[in-house]
């Protein structure tokens, strides 16, 4: 069944702050096999003009996706999460995420479409630091495939 259009524009309360740790950034950089010094060496990061190590461009997704859980698990919206695949992902940065950041995410439903029985949900996650400054916006498109459609 198509999702309720009246949810378009709905924003969810900002999440509790997520504190970005140096070792978490290191673990993520190792997992993607990326040895760039700015991810693990504070001196190298400072040489590039940052106060501490920075995170790879896609790191913040773990935080914004967890925040998007408020939307996908909203019982009123009624999305069948077992049929959801990730369609598109985009990040728009004001500055890179860095160790010591305490980040909150405000998720908003940008669009709901129905195509060939698939429900398509666009979620915007605005990420701010403790000072209230914008860090990055994550745009996530989720596609809930129609029941009975495989592959």
């Amino acid at each position: 069944m198509a999702l309720d259009q009246s949810f378009v524009g709905r924003s969810y309360p900002a999440t509790a702050p997520y504190e970005v740790g140096r070792e978490k950034i290191r673990e993520f950089a190792e997992a993607i096999g990326d040895a760039a010094p700015a991810y693990t060496d504070a001196e190298a990061a400072r040489a590039l003009g940052y106060p501490d190590v920075i995170a790879p461009p896609t790191f913040v997704f773990s935080i914004t996706f967890r925040a998007a859980g408020q939307v996908v698990e909203d019982p009123q919206l009624g999305l069948d999460y077992s049929r959801v695949v990730h369609g598109d992902q985009k990040f728009v940065y004001t500055r890179p995420v860095r160790a010591g950041d305490r980040l909150t995410v405000t998720s908003t439903i940008e669009a709901i479409k129905s195509m060939a029985g698939n429900d398509i949900l666009d979620i915007r996650g605005e990420v701010h630091d403790e000072a209230g400054e914008h860090v990055v916006t994550a745009f996530t498109k989720l596609v809930a495939r129609a029941a009975g459609q495989e592959g």
Partner: protein, 144 residues
């Protein structure tokens, strides 16, 4: 923020060094832990096949992270990436044969966007087993 590539040194069509990124089941287990995405289709063959996939597939966000490395290695400053987006078109299938899969990524400067801000758009092509795995893969990068 100090990218090592100068805006003045690139033009539309400038190619970035292409790279190949191997991905095995071990890689996916490690990425699951680091990212917190424990969806079993990324490590459990039985469940992957039950939902209609040919085998275990890589996290789309893992592929997106690898493709970004062609850009961040080029700029020398990962923080120079101001915008980055992809469409997940095909999954990267990762067989349990010790070899896994390979993600091949190439990129080129598609356009110089803003002389003042010194930004360019880089278009990326990511393939695995001959199939395009990302579509509309684009980054906006601030150069020196």
């Amino acid at each position: 923020m100090t990218a090592k590539i100068s805006y003045d040194d690139v033009e539309a069509g400038t190619e970035l060094p292409a790279q190949s990124f191997p991905v095995t089941r071990d890689t996916l287990v490690r990425y699951a832990g680091a990212s917190g995405d424990f969806n079993p289709i990324h490590w459990n063959e039985k469940i992957a096949k039950e939902v209609g996939l040919p085998d275990v597939i890589a996290h789309g966000m893992f592929t997106m992270a690898e493709a970004a490395r062609v850009v961040t290695d080029w700029t020398g400053d990962p923080g120079a990436v101001v915008e980055y987006g992809v469409r997940f078109t095909k999954p990267v299938v990762v067989p349990n044969d010790g070899e896994g899969a390979v993600i091949e990524v190439s990129g080129k400067v598609a356009a110089k966007l803003d002389d003042e801000a010194r930004t360019v758009r880089v278009d990326l092509i990511a393939t695995s087993a001959g199939q395009k795995v990302l579509g509309m893969s684009r980054a906006v990068v601030k150069l020196a």
